[in-house]
Symmetry: D2
Subunit: 243 residues, 4 copies
């Protein structure tokens, strides 16, 4: 939910490619919004950025919420997308995911950082990672505690969560033309494997991969695979092989 | 968490078998407790009940928390157990599960029934079941709302959740002698499949089955399978087949 | 492929149920056929047997080839079927399975029993079972060697294999009305899990279960589960539970 | 089993990397051998080639038999290996796989190309790929028919198959120091997913990925993923990310 999360990967990304990181509105260093909005404002933000930078075609990597925006972008602005890597993401906010999101919002409204942490954080990691990195997790709790105590941050999160409620682009996935690499994590309990199975069935030029033993935060849990997938898929010379 | 949940199954269970349902302490119609306790009090409650009824060997079916008590019972009172069916359960409260439980407790302390519902309920169903039975789920929310508004109920849940924190019998699983049927649900996001994989590796006479497309509440999601597994495993004449 | 395979289960099956075992034509003790035929002759054999015995409704258990006949029977003679358990089976002979079958036929025509054994037998077991029961497997090779040297047996197998080539009832699965329990084995390399996933999608009253760590011969690999599934599903008083 | 199989990938491999393809002895354009041998001769062939080319450290990509040689090479000549990608491979020839291999040999000895084709080829593809590419498969049968009629080729295959019989390096996997990417295909019925699960448990610096819907020939079935994994893993600047 912040370009800072990508810091460890900057070196590998920038060795042979140009990397542009974006904080969506209400995220990280970007402006806060007010009232209700949908994903569309984020999709158009990406378009404005690309135009501003005078870029023609870009490769897009999106994770979770960012993957949703990536998919919508590839539908609305297909001429701007070359290849796409979408990680731990879904084509719709099911009632199930919506109600989980509402639980996060209600936890946030308590303004109790431990409530927000315990409700939102463990579930995004696989049990095995959480267990094996319990000290790192406790450190992370300390880092996040002041953040999760900040009413402005919690309000931002509430608006971002709300912006996903009406999200459902399942019927439009067949319009995507970009070669798309879809990554599932087998222990993803928020956007489970079946969500990506649906993505790969609907997207024409889809490739699909599963990471065993990782959860929704698979980028963090398996960082070397994250780089492998992004760099490999984007830098391959050919997409079609005459076998 | 209540013998009432078993009502729909009573007819099938009692056709050729005797069914004894138990509310653990702090559950359903049983007495409330005070202060901290561990699973042991529940294990001994089951033993007292069996002795009180002058039963010798029983077959035990336990789900989730009930499965944990069943496993502990089969270790402590092995002479009283014939066969055992454990459903959506685990041999230990990992740090991951512990922190999820603490999130439930903090949600309960808000005394906001929607907070408790949204934090604890959706995650126990598979996304597909939740989606396909959304009206039934909304009905369930209405039924549970007064329950989740009741401070005494929420305090009971907090104590029950706490009673599982120190739970870890992984090292003792090899002592279990009862023929044990272990059931996993592939979309169980609280006691995931890997937990039961560990159970079946450690328990000598274990049989293992997976239910595709069901979550932690698989008994509710796939009731016909629930009866099939319980009745079939308990009523089979032989447990060893000379193939 | 012979009622003898069911011998170890007779005691458990007959304790509370009546068991009728059938050798299809060209199988076990039944008559041999000549020339080409399809499944239909086997389906009608079952019907004739049921009529001969003056039975009205029966529960059917079918494995692999037997599961295919069971599915076809439940379509053609729906009034005669109560509940059905189909094990390691499929709704069609794909080109892939057809070509594997042709390999078996060509191996049989060598009249070399080791060729037939090695081509047809290992693949029907899971690697783990084969490994852990290697002495039992070697014993089985000895038992089967004279059988696999018998030209008449090999000709029967060739005709049976051929009888499945045109098999495809996928489009008729929706006509099945019987409550049907579908069993997959995760290491089934002949009728893989996706075949049963298709069955359960198309059959109205389908329940679906997976056995981890077992192959196409899951009845042999996990005999206690075999009895659990058959007895439990067939003897459950209710099929619908008002949850 | 021939460097020709890699032809479609040469362009992508050589854009930013140097590609060296090797036919093992008794494979493709390399010399034929006589009598019995083990993998060791192939491992030492690779070493001789690297020394001959005055290379220090290489990245190794190996598939199936080639993956086995790669793993053994990384144990015996660890100083020569930088990173490694092993595809659809195993750390040992189980009794199960051995007996399947013996079936191939017996099919080859018939000198009937259809027998060899039907016994050895369908099983290496996933059913879905085989079905969806049935014309391509028929074309392949035509191309392979003269090859599978050639006694010298079949003798080579027999020796290669035999060379794997004693293979078991499971106990030495922990000696591997190279960062290793292990690829499983979910429908691999020769070196099933559990084989790679074992690899990743034993190899220190292992990353593990699964390809859904592909079989043992996953390089052919999902060529874009093949390039993605190889190029991405080998060209990533960092292998450790301080998350």
């Amino acid at each position: 939910m912040s370009t800072k999360s990508w810091q460890p990967f900057v070196n590998s990304f920038t060795k042979n490619n140009q990397l542009i990181r974006v904080d969506f509105l209400d995220q990280g260093g970007s402006d806060r919004l007010e009232g209700n909005y949908t994903h569309e404002i984020q999709v158009d933000l990406v378009k404005a950025l690309i135009d501003h930078l005078n870029l023609d075609k870009v490769n897009i990597v999106g994770i979770s919420y960012g993957g949703e925006i990536a998919l919508e972008f590839a539908i609305k602005y297909k001429e701007n997308v070359d290849r796409m890597v979408v990680y731990n993401t879904t084509s719709r906010t099911s009632e199930w995911l919506r109600d989980i999101g509402r639980g996060w919002i209600l936890a946030g409204r308590t303004r109790n950082p431990d409530a927000y942490y315990n409700v939102a954080i463990p579930v995004i990691y696989s049990p095995i990672f959480y267990q094996q990195n319990i000290e790192w997790m406790e450190q992370r709790r300390k880092v996040l505690k002041p953040v999760f105590s900040d009413p402005e941050f919690l309000d931002r999160m509430e608006r971002l969560t709300n912006s996903s409620e009406p999200y459902d682009i399942t019927d439009k996935l067949s319009e995507i033309e970009a070669y798309t690499l879809i990554i599932s994590a087998e222990e993803d309990y928020l956007t489970p494997v079946k969500d990506q199975e649906l993505l790969q069935r609907q997207i024409k030029n889809a490739s699909w991969v599963k990471i065993p033993g990782a959860g929704h935060a698979s980028m963090y849990e398996k960082p070397l695979l994250f780089m492998t997938f992004c760099l490999g898929f984007i830098n391959t010379a050919d997409t079609n092989y005459l076998i």
